[in-house]
Point group: C2
C-alpha cells in the first residue's frame, strides 16, 4: 500500500479553487485533469519528455494548447518548470510529487484502454517489466506474476515496435518541416 | 487479477473512430472519457443513479449537457438505455460491461483526489467496507487490511455524513424549484 502524503493547506488552496463547494474527490480532480489535452501532456511527462517541443510533437496539440495546459498544470501543482539553458533561456517541465502520484490513474486508464479499445491484432503500446520480479506485470493494478502492486519506480518501460514507429514518424514529420 | 474480456471488432469501430491513428490507449480513451462532465455522469451511474433527473441534479449540469454526454456514452458502448415506464415513456441508463470495467479508473481518481485535494479536516466522501474482509480498504488499489485488489462488486459504499448532506441539499434545492 502506498503511504499517503499529507497535503498542506497551501496545496489545497492552489488545487481546487473552483470546486471547493463539493466534497467529491472525483469532481475536484476533474477541474485539474478533466481535459483530454492535459492528460496527453501528462502522458509525455511520464514518458520522460520534459521539453515543450517534444510534448507538442507527440500530443499533436498546437503550441498555444500545450502552453495553456502546462501553465495550468504548474499552477495546480503537478508540474514544475526548471531552467536547463540560460542562453537562450530554455525550460523543461518536471512532475512534482503530486504529479507523480497521478501515475496509478494512468495505469488504470491504460488497462481499460488496452482491454476495450484495441483490436485483437494490436499489441500493448508500452511493454513493462516489473523490476522486482523481472516479469511482464500485465495490466495491473497488481503484477500478474508476483501479485505486488505495480509502482512507477519499479516498472521498466519499452515502447512496442509499432508504437515506437508511430512516435518516430511524428518526430520525423516535425523535423521535415 | 482481472480476467480481461476480448473485445470484438464491432466494439473497436464504435469506440475510437477519431483516434485510431494512434496505438496509445490513453489517447484512445480520452476521446471517450476526456471530458469533465462525462466523468461526473459516470460517477452518478456508479453510485446507482440511473435516471436523467437524478444525474442532472447531482452533476449540476444543464439538461442539454447531460443529454449529450449520455448519448455519447451510449454510442461509445459504456451505457445502455432501458425503458422503465411505457406510459409515459421513461428511460434509465445502465452501465454496460465496458462501463463497469471503468471502475478501477474511478478508484484511482478517488485515491489521488482524497490524498491531494482534501484538507486535513475533511473526511473521505465515500466510505467503503471491503466485503470479503469486513474492513475499511483504504484508498487502494489493494485493500489495506487483507491486501486483495479492491473490486467494485466487493465494496459496500456509504456516503460520509457531510457528503450525504451535500447531495441531499442539491436534491432539496431541485425539488424546491
Amino acid at each position: 500500500m502506498t503511504k499517503m502524503p499529507k497535503n498542506s493547506s497551501t496545496q489545497r488552496e492552489l488545487a481546487f479553487p473552483s470546486s471547493s463547494q463539493t466534497l467529491c474527490p472525483i469532481a475536484r480532480v476533474q477541474d485539474v485533469v478533466g481535459d483530454r489535452w492535459t492528460v496527453l501532456v501528462l502522458r509525455e511527462l511520464f514518458l520522460g519528455n520534459r521539453r515543450f517541443e517534444e510534448i507538442q510533437i507527440q500530443t499533436q496539440a498546437t503550441p498555444q494548447m500545450v502552453a495553456s495546459r502546462l501553465k495550468k498544470l504548474e499552477s495546480d501543482g503537478l508540474v514544475e518548470r526548471r531552467i536547463y539553458s540560460q542562453r537562450p533561456p530554455r525550460h523543461e517541465y518536471c512532475l512534482t510529487e503530486m504529479g507523480v502520484a497521478f501515475h496509478p490513474v494512468f495505469l488504470a486508464l491504460r488497462a481499460w484502454g488496452e482491454t476495450w479499445f484495441k483490436s485483437n491484432d494490436e499489441e500493448v503500446a508500452i511493454q513493462y517489466i516489473h523490476v522486482p520480479c523481472g516479469q511482464d506485470p500485465g495490466l495491473g493494478p497488481d503484477c500478474r506474476s508476483c501479485a505486488k502492486v505495480m509502482r512507477r519506480g519499479e516498472l521498466s518501460a519499452k515502447l512496442s515496435a509499432p508504437y515506437g514507429a508511430e512516435r518516430q514518424a511524428r518526430l520525423d514529420a516535425f523535423k521535415g518541416r
